[in-house]
Amino acid sequence: MMNNADAAPSGPAIVVHDLHVKRAKTRVLQGLSLAVPRGLIVGLLGPSGSGKTTLMRSIVGVQVVQSGTIEVLGRPAGSPALRRRVAYYTQQASVYDDLTVRQNLTYFRRVLGAPASDIDRVIERTDLGSVADRLAGSLSGGQRGRVSLAAALLGNPEVLVLDEPTVGLDPVLRVELWQLFHELAADGATLLVSSHVMDEAKRCDRLLLMRDGELLADDTVAGVLAFTGTDDVEDAFLRLIDRGEPDLQPHDASPHDESSHDESAHVAKHVRTTDPDSGPGSEARR
C-alpha cells in the first residue's frame, strides 16, 4: 500500500501510542494508537464527543495526558522545537476580535518569528485581502475562521492540526479551503483535519474514524468503502458502528485471529505497518 512508501524514509509525521486522556473525570481517550504519514491529508472523523479535539490538543501539546506517548516529526509532542513546525487551528476561531485581521496576523507572526512577507502571503491564500484592515470581531463567522486559519499558515508549518476548519462555511468556501489543503499537502505539509461532516472524508488521503475515544478505522477512503461494502463514507461509518466489533474484522473472520489480518486488515492496518512499537499492542484500540 502507499503508506509504506510514504512512511518508510522519514517515518510518520505523527505517531500516537497507547494514549490515555481524562478530561473532567471522563476518560476521553483510552489507549489510542495511530500514525499519520507525512505529506498527506488525514481526515479525523467521528461524532461530537468522540475525542477528536482531545486527540488534537494532545498532538499539539496543550492537553494534559495521563499516559502514552505522542511523537510529532520524531520529537515528543509539545517540545519547544515543534512549536514553530506544528500549527494548530482551534475549533473556535482563536483570534483577537478587537484587532484587525492584519494586526492579528502581525502579532502571531512576531511570536512565531516568521518573515514579515508571510502576512501578505497568508492573507492572499485565505482570500482575506478585502477585509484585511477590518476588526476581526466585525467579520462573519466564516471570515473569522479564515483569519484563524491564516494564522495557522504563518511560518510554513510542516504539520497542520486543523480542528473542524470548514464548519459553518458555505459550499464554495469549503471547496476553496480543501483546494488550499491539497496545495499545502502537495508542498509537503502533513494535515490532520477533523470534521464531523462525513462527506468531507472523500477529500482526504486517509481517514481515521473515531467513536467514543476509540479508533474504528485507519485506512484510505477507498479502503474504508471497500471494507464496509458501501459507496458513501457516512454509511461506512454507520456500518462500522453497527458492527460494534472493536477490532473490526470482516464478518467471516474471528476478531482475534491474527492470521486473518493480511487479507482482511484494510482497516486499522496502518497502525501496524508504520508503528513498530505497537505490534500486537495495536489492539489497544479496543
Binding site: 490538543r57 512549536r83 514553530r84 500549527a87 482563536s94 478587537d98 484587532l99 502579532y107 512565531l112
Partner: protein
C-alpha cells in the same frame, strides 16, 4: 522568553485596548471619579485630608487588578491563549507583556488620579508630589501584578471574581484605612506589616504629611516592587501550557 515576543505581546494588548475607547475612558477616569466622590462625602470635614492619600492608592490598585485579571481570562476563554501556547511564546513573555501594557496604562491613570486629588479635590500634599506619583504608580502596577497572579491561578471568570475578595479585600481591611495599623490586634498587625498595600498607604500618608524622608519612602516603593516581581514570577510559573 525573548524581548521581541514580550514587547510584541505588550504592543498587541495596547492595540486591542486602543480599539476600545470606552475602556480607555473608564480606565483613566473611574479612579478619579471615586476619589472625587470621597472628597465630596467629607466636604464639610477634614477627613479627606486624612484618608485622601489612601484613596489614591486604593482605587487604581483595585481597578488595575480587575481589568488585568479579566483581560487575561478573556484570552483564555477566546482560545487565543491555547493557540499562543502551541506557539513559541514563553509563559514569561505572556505575563510580562501584559504587565508592561497595563503598567503603561497605569502611569496615565495614576497621573490623572493624583492630579485630580491634588488640584481639583484640594488634597494638601506637604511632601514631594513626584514621590506621591511614584508610590501610586508602583501601587497600580501591584494591582496589575496581583491580577495576573489571580488569573494564572483561576480557570474561570467565576474564580477570578472570587480572587478579588481573597487577594484584595484583606489588604484593604488591614491597610490602616479603617483603623491605624498600630491599633490592630497583634497578629493582624504582624500580617498587615507584610501586605503590599500597607506599604503603599504608609508611604502615601507619609508623603502627604511629609513625616518621613525620601529614603524611607523609597524603601516602601522597593518593597512594593518586590511584591510586583514576585507575583509576576509566581504567575509565570503557575500558568500552564497544558490544561486538563
Amino acid at each position: 522568553m525573548t524581548l521581541v515576543r514580550t514587547f510584541s505581546t505588550a504592543g498587541r494588548v495596547l492595540t486591542q485596548i486602543r480599539h476600545d475607547e470606552r475602556t480607555i475612558g473608564l480606565l483613566l477616569v473611574v479612579p478619579s471619579l471615586l476619589i472625587g466622590l470621597v472628597a465630596w462625602i467629607f466636604v464639610d470635614t477634614d477627613v479627606f485630608q486624612t484618608i485622601g492619600p489612601a484613596m489614591i492608592a486604593l482605587f487604581p490598585f483595585i481597578v488595575m487588578f480587575l481589568v488585568t485579571s479579566i483581560a487575561t481570562l478573556r484570552e483564555r476563554r477566546s482560545g487565543t491563549l491555547e493557540r499562543l501556547f502551541s506557539m513559541p511564546l514563553g509563559k514569561g513573555d505572556f505575563i510580562l507583556g501584559y504587565a508592561l501594557a497595563f503598567g503603561f496604562l497605569a502611569i496615565f491613570q495614576t497621573a490623572i488620579a493624583v492630579s485630580f486629588a491634588v488640584f481639583v479635590c484640594g488634597l494638601e500634599i506637604e511632601g514631594s508630589i513626584w514621590l506621591l506619583f511614584a508610590v501610586t504608580v508602583a501601587d497600580a502596577l501591584l494591582g496589575t501584578a496581583l491580577g495576573l497572579l489571580a488569573s494564572a491561578f483561576a480557570r474561570t471568570e467565576f474564580q477570578v471574581v472570587q480572587f478579588m475578595p481573597l487577594l484584595v479585600f484583606p489588604q484593604v481591611l488591614l491597610c490602616g484605612i479603617f483603623i491605624p495599623r498600630d491599633q490592630l490586634p497583634e497578629v493582624l498587625e504582624a500580617i498587615s506589616d507584610w501586605l503590599p498595600l500597607s506599604y503603599a498607604i504608609d508611604a502615601l500618608t507619609a508623603v502627604a504629611n511629609d513625616s518621613e524622608d525620601a529614603a524611607w519612602i523609597w524603601a516602601r516603593i522597593l518593597a512594593i516592587g518586590a511584591w510586583i516581581v514576585g507575583s509576576i514570577v509566581v504567575g509565570s510559573i503557575t500558568l500552564r501550557r497544558r490544561t486538563p
